[in-house]
């Protein structure tokens, strides 16, 4: 029997039309599954990327290079223009009344009133207090701080920012944490950007719908409607273009951020990330940097009104900038204040009070690079310590030895000096600025090796070649002190040297050195030979002690000396870098110790903790007695020798130094010093053209201009007499120990104890005791 198979309606073969919904459902499910899978994969990818990003540094923060602090103390002489320029660079604004806010100052002939900025460094904690500095004849008479009952002995002004190491993003940022911020700042930002931040999960549907509606209406993506989390996702992880795919990514990242972090962390990241405007090519990012830039204060010190200004800037930083349009900025601030009130974060009374406050931004302060040659010199050292990524990203604070007042004075003195030379001799002018007359100024502190100023050329924008450390030039007569130093064991200041013309055989060739002035004395004392920079006497001296001894001394002073010494070396024909020469002169001013040139003092991390300290390190090269002897001899260079014009130029305090001029006047030098400053000036052409001037006429006036601009570094004191030095009266004619009452011309001379002349003058012998007494009386009473 054939059983008829029952067919279920389900088993009936469906038509294509009947099967379509099922197919579509299956396809839809499949598509959803694939999309979900792909989204999940993409989420895993995003999560990994996000983890990687958060595991490392969140932001690149440029490292800052700082100058040294500036001291003010009672009795200190000031150079008002230099000090006022410095205060201006530090962001102190002159006010007509009494300074009442950080960053304000008032200067008069009798006082400097200043309201200090707050500043913290590993070695300098500066409170924001007002300080009164009494002045008389531009000299500090007293210093009174508002936070101290007694008159403070010293005022330390915070260091200046000299340069920032930017990364490729050119962003400036100071990080803050939520704990540092008063609540009114977060309220202002939430009121301006996302008042429901703490209530939504990263996305606000109403905002999206509103934005969607607007965008559809205008048929372009013009409105964001983004929450703070979305803005963070967009700014921190995505590129700024407005596309649907980017919006999709933004939503995914927003979800991930909300899933992974709590609200406070998201807000903190946002406040550190957000863009607040532009300063030249550099962008101001984060509320910490914006507070400094717009109000010259830490974010923690912002008032309600100021917080509202900054919160209002986020929407359109350039449009609402208080530096651009104060009315528009005030309107926007009032909108934010009103929004704060609407959300219950500001009482009606406070709203009125804050709205009534005028918006008072800090003066626009661009960070211009200072001391560019020094910065290059510093960068070479820093890049040997840290990678470029670390320098541009880890926000290090690098404190240097530079004194910006000295640096500024050195730059001005060099510029003025070179212009003066060109004006006096138009043949020195060059059409091509790249070939113009150049110069170097280096200022160091001899005992510690601190570099206070370094000018490596006339104009950094034209030539970045740092002549202070990269040029190798002949020092000429500025090298002579090292020859005389080498001879101090055998010679005394009164030893007579042969100064007559001679021909020397050098490698089989005759060499006839000449004096600068042909009519020089044939015999000259050791002291006068150096003071008058006599070439022949110096060459004879070098031969007398042996060229090997000169070479030995030169090497000890870290000069590069050829293996095979040659006699013209005594006249400074070897090549030196200006910094090496300045450093070598430090030995004379520092009791015989050679300091290492110091430019970095301290490196601190973003938390202000010291990660690197550099201290002065010294190396004894010669005895204090020999150093003193050389200083005493070089004082005569300034008193009666080739640098005697210093007195006419107004330098009337004790100074020692040496001029230097090379063959055909290719180089002009003057290195002068006091116990606390060594200053080197070089003038010349890069291509070795003659400058048609000497060290005394080209370099020395620049030195004088510079030193006169730095009264704060002039103590007027001289080096104390060290052990191993004896003063003795000598006969000016014979150079032997004076016979009291017998020698007609007696003068005091200094000697190393071991080679003080013991012989009594043989030219003037008194025949009797009576004659001696008679001569003594004649001396006391010449007109009797």
């Amino acid at each position: 029997m054939k059983v008829k198979k029952k067919t279920s309606p389900w088993n009936k073969k469906k038509t294509l039309f009947q099967r379509l919904p099922g197919f579509l459902i299956k396809a839809g499910l499949f598509f959803l599954l694939i999309t979900a899978g792909l989204t999940a994969l993409y989420l895993v990818f995003l999560t990994k990327g996000m983890d990687k990003r958060f595991a490392g540094r969140l932001w690149d923060i440029p490292s800052k290079i700082y100058s040294d602090i500036t001291l003010l103390y009672p009795g200190q002489a000031l150079n008002p223009p230099l000090l006022l320029e410095k205060l201006d660079r530090l962001g102190y604004r002159p006010v007509s009344g009494t300074p009442s806010r950080p960053g304000e100052m008032r200067f008069s002939k009798t006082s400097l009133e200043i309201y200090l900025h707050k500043f913290h460094s590993p070695f300098h904690e500066q409170k924001s207090v007002s300080v009164w500095v009494g002045l008389k004849d531009y000299r500090v008479t007293s210093i009174t701080r508002s936070d101290m009952d007694t008159k403070g002995a010293l005022l330390e002004l915070e260091p200046e920012v000299l340069m920032l190491y930017y990364g490729p993003d050119q962003e400036r940022r100071q990080l803050i944490s939520m704990g540092q911020l008063p609540q009114h700042i977060t309220h202002a930002v939430l009121a301006a950007e996302d008042h429901g931040f703490y209530n939504h999960h990263g996305v606000e549907i109403r905002g999206i719908l509103r934005a969607l509606f607007t965008n559809l209406k205008e048929w372009e993506i013009s409105q964001g409607g983004s929450t703070i989390t979305q803005q963070l996702a967009k700014n921190y992880f995505l590129t700024p273009e407005r596309t649907l795919s980017r919006k999709f990514k933004e939503l995914l990242i927003t979800g991930l951020l909300e899933y992974k972090f709590d609200k406070d962390t998201i807000l903190e990241m946002y406040l550190n990330e957000i863009y607040f405007g532009q300063e030249g090519p550099v962008s101001i990012n984060g509320i910490g940097e914006a507070s400094r830039f717009f109000f010259d204060k830490a974010a923690s010190d912002l008032s309600v009104s100021e917080a509202a200004v900054l919160a209002g800037l986020i929407k359109a930083p350039n449009q609402f900038s208080p530096h651009r349009n104060i009315e528009r900025c005030t309107e926007r601030r009032n909108d934010v204040l009103a929004a704060m009130h609407k959300n219950g974060w500001l009482t009606a009374d406070l709203l009125q009070e804050e709205k009534a406050r005028p918006v008072k931004p800090a003066a626009y302060r661009g960070y211009h690079q200072q001391a560019p040659y020094f910065m290059d010199y510093l960068t070479r050292q820093l890049t040997s310590l840290y990678s470029r990524e670390t320098l541009s990203g880890e926000g290090l604070s690098i404190f240097t030895t530079i004194d910006t007042e000295v640096q500024s004075a050195a730059e001005k003195a060099l510029k003025k000096g070179l212009e003066r030379l060109e004006a006096s001799n138009p043949a020195l002018k060059r059409k091509d600025p790249g070939e113009s007359l150049q110069g170097v100024v280096i200022v160091m502190q001899p005992k510690t090796g601190y570099i206070l100023a370094m000018v490596g050329g006339r104009d950094y924008s034209i030539s970045q070649f740092n002549r202070a450390v990269q040029a190798r030039r002949q020092p000429g007569s500025a090298f002579k002190p090292f020859v005389y130093l080498a001879a101090l064991d055998q010679y005394t200041p009164v030893s007579m040297l042969d100064n007559s013309p001679q021909t020397f055989m050098v490698n089989g060739q005759p060499w006839t050195p000449k004096n600068y002035y042909a009519q020089a004395e044939p015999m000259i004392s050791f002291r006068n030979a150096l003071a008058q920079s006599q070439n022949l006497a110096t060459v004879n001296l070098a031969y007398g002690i042996g060229l090997d001894r000169v070479t030995q001394i030169a090497r000890a002073f870290h000069f590069s000396v050829p293996d095979d010494p040659y006699p013209s070396m005594a006249l400074g024909t070897l090549e030196v870098e200006p910094l090496s020469l300045a450093r070598a002169y430090c030995v004379f001013a520092a009791d015989g110790v050679l300091p290492f040139p110091l430019s970095i003092r301290e490196v601190a991390d973003t938390d202000g903790k010291t990660i690197e300290s550099r201290h002065a390190t010294i190396e004894r090269l010669i005895t204090p007695a020999k150093a003193y002897m050389m200083s005493d001899l070089m004082q005569d260079v300034v008193r009666d020798g080739t640098a005697r014009s210093l007195k006419q130029l107004g330098v009337n305090w004790p100074v020692a130094g040496k001029t230097g001029t090379t063959n055909d006047s290719r180089d002009a030098w003057f290195v002068g010093y006091t116990p606390n400053l060594v200053t080197l000036v070089w003038v010349g052409f890069d291509n070795n053209d003659s400058i048609k001037a000497t060290g005394a006429t080209a370099a020395l006036p620049i030195w004088a201009d510079l030193m006169k601009a730095l009264p704060q570094y002039v103590s007027g004191e001289w080096l104390p007499l060290p052990p191993g030095i004896e003063r003795s009266d000598i006969c000016a004619d014979s150079g032997e120990t004076a016979r009291e009452g017998c020698c007609p011309r007696v003068r005091e001379e200094v000697f190393l104890s071991e080679n003080r002349p013991r012989t009594l003058c043989r030219q003037h012998e008194c025949s009797s005791q009576l004659e001696k007494v008679w001569n003594g009386i004649k001396k006391i009473l010449p007109n009797f």
Binding site: A153, D591, P722, E726, T737, E740, I777
Partner: protein, 139 residues
């Protein structure tokens, strides 16, 4: 005229002989001035404003040393030296700081500088010698 001249000479001979007796016959060879001079220090004569300002840093340096903070001490003592290179005490304390940091080479250099400036002060001389001894024993 002639007798007047002899009279004048006689007068001066008497004065001269008297002077010789009064001064106790000075020596023929002048004595050299012994060095070094009295160091410039807190107890010295009137000091320059720079030297006075340096004292403030010198005091800070000593306080850091008491608290065993040699790096901080060096930092302020260097400032004191830059302001007043003539005060030998700062070199003594710098030597102490370097010794605390375990750098005997630098400690020795600064001890030597302290000696240059303070050798004539008996109290400081002893301290400096004792410091030198400690440096030489430092390994």
């Amino acid at each position: 005229m002639g007798s007047k001249k002899y009279c004048l000479i006689f007068k001066w001979i008497v004065i001269g002989v008297g002077l010789i007796f009064l001064t106790g016959c000075s020596t023929l060879v002048p004595k050299p001035v012994p060095g070094p001079e009295k160091p410039a220090g807190p107890s010295g004569n009137k000091q320059s404003p720079m030297a006075l300002a340096a004292l403030s840093f010198s005091g800070q340096g000593q306080a850091y040393l008491k608290n065993k903070k040699p790096d901080e001490a060096i930092r302020v003592l260097e400032r004191a030296v830059n302001l007043n290179p003539g005060n030998g005490e700062n070199y003594y304390y710098l030597a102490e700081a370097w010794l605390m940091k375990g750098n005997a080479v630098q400690a020795k250099e600064f001890n030597h500088l302290a000696e240059v400036y303070m050798k004539t002060d008996p109290e400081w001389k002893l301290k400096i010698e004792f410091q030198e001894d400690r440096i030489s024993k430092f390994k």
